[in-house]
Subunit: 296 residues, 2 copies
């Protein structure tokens, strides 16, 4: 799927959702780092573990948020790290999002939950993510297609970020399979996901894609397919993605469009009492590096 | 992917996990109905709504379980219907599974959560499903490939049921795309998922697939690919799948291998005080119909 096979642009300019505008407002300030709140309980510094599990996680998260709020493009808690603590974890997730939205309403919260079921059931997941947690966006699997995802896509005020080329080593098992596409030639499955999402899923301007920094060539192909649609780019920290290539290949024609996530590399940069200051330092460092590459 | 393109059987007979043996024990009793505990709070009969939300959901579920335990192959709570009630819903899910496993340890519980993330993160989801909820099996998305799903697949004592051809109207958007497969010809994506899972994912004999009853031809293709691997078949109730075709095309060479789910058609068969008796009646009716078709 080279540039010559790029799908036609939609007739009118794509609409802009509230979620997109929130991102654009942050990008205009030079902010591109999504702070991944993958707050695995076992890794939270011991000195914080005084009260209940809920309090421990909440205190950890809110200190990270307070220390990084002027540098973070977005916060992205991954639901798995809360679910593994059961009801206490879910409670801490809800309280964290509530705290962030009250204190810093200008910063979007992306619930990284990678959900997707049939339509009737997705109503429940949309309610959980958008109404119970109060997130501004959610990540979803593409496998069931657009029709099933309408309960997410129809929430015009919310973002829906679709897995396209994931950052894991075995991502290619299905995502790289070459599929026939009568409209513009053979393409890997992840390219079809990008093309369908761009052509057909984004009626409300509220859709984005996930492409791992660990696959810069695939990222380049997806960017050529989707214009200036937001791309969530995980994998630059502990997973070893090349930041310079990710930025070069991931930025849109306005040198923005990227949500570059780092989780463990920021929130667990120090296990000591300076953990929040260390998180700020790493967020600043990553922001500076991104902006250097972005404007090179 | 006709029978002539069937992938070669693994050299040795596939191993049998504890989860498989539990299913086989129920199948040997003529039990094929998976009771879907999609206990949407708004649909729980009003007369049950006296105490807390947790109590309401727990009372509803446990009365259904007590009324159907000798007829149910398995119980399948769908996580979305609990998550939409927040912390209370998760608590009710955990308590329901605990009740069922203590009282009826012979009946497997399948947590229909449709999870899948990168490996490190899937550890959290596996902990939630298998250790916090205490489920015997979980449903997962295939999109990230086998490598990412190892935290589920490596739990030899637990079942992992992979989405293959889902029951929703728009399932074909990606699942029907024709992909190149050098080892045995062109096949739709769902056929590649079935083939890879059968050939490579089932080292511990603990894997199954989801294929909707709403697509009987696709079900036939998958069954020809996967031998006697368990197939979870949703879509026979409210979604309108043809039961006779589903059984004919879904059964394995021993006339079993099927986990035929009905949710709304059983648990909300009556909104009155007889709701549990009505659930039993519908479970019995569906069991009888399946056995008639199965042995025809």
């Amino acid at each position: 799927m080279g540039a010559e096979q790029r799908p036609p642009a939609p007739e009118a300019e794509q609409p802009r959702s509230e979620f997109y505008q929130t991102l654009e407002n942050r990008w205009s300030k030079g902010l591109f780092v999504c702070v991944g709140l993958d707050s695995e309980f076992a890794k939270i510094p011991d000195f914080l573990k005084k009260g209940s599990v809920v309090q421990n996680i909440f205190n950890f998260n809110t200190r990270i948020i307070d220390a990084t709020h002027d540098l973070a493009l977005a916060y992205k808690p991954n639901s798995a790290f809360y679910e593994e603590m059961g009801v206490d974890g879910i409670q801490a997730l809800i309280l964290t999002a509530d705290y962030a939205k009250r204190k810093y309403p200008e910063i979007p919260i992306i619930l990284d939950a990678k959900r997707a079921d049939i339509g009737n059931t997705n109503n429940g997941y949309a309610k959980f993510a958008f109404d119970i947690v109060g997130a501004d966006a959610i990540t979803v699997h593409p496998y069931l297609g657009k029709e099933a995802l309408k309960p997410f896509l129809n929430r015009k005020d919310k973002g829906v970020i679709v897995l396209c080329r994931t950052s894991n080593p075995g991502a290619g098992e299905f995502q790289d399979l070459i599929v026939d596409d009568c409209s513009y030639g053979d393409t890997p499955l992840f390219g079809m996901v990008a093309a369908n999402v761009f052509r057909d899923w984004n009626e409300h301007g509220n859709v984005g894609l996930v492409v791992g920094a660990t696959y810069p060539e695939e990222l380049e192909k997806v960017r050529k397919t989707v214009g200036d649609m937001p791309i969530l780019i995980p994998g630059v920290g502990a997973q070893g993605g090349d930041l310079e290539k990710a930025v070069r290949n991931g930025k849109d024609s306005n040198n923005q469009g990227m949500i570059i996530n780092s989780s463990r590399g920021i929130i667990f940069a120090s296990g000591g009492e300076d953990f929040a200051a260390a998180a700020r330092r790493e967020t600043q460092k990553l922001t500076n590096e991104i902006n250097t590459h972005r404007l090179a």
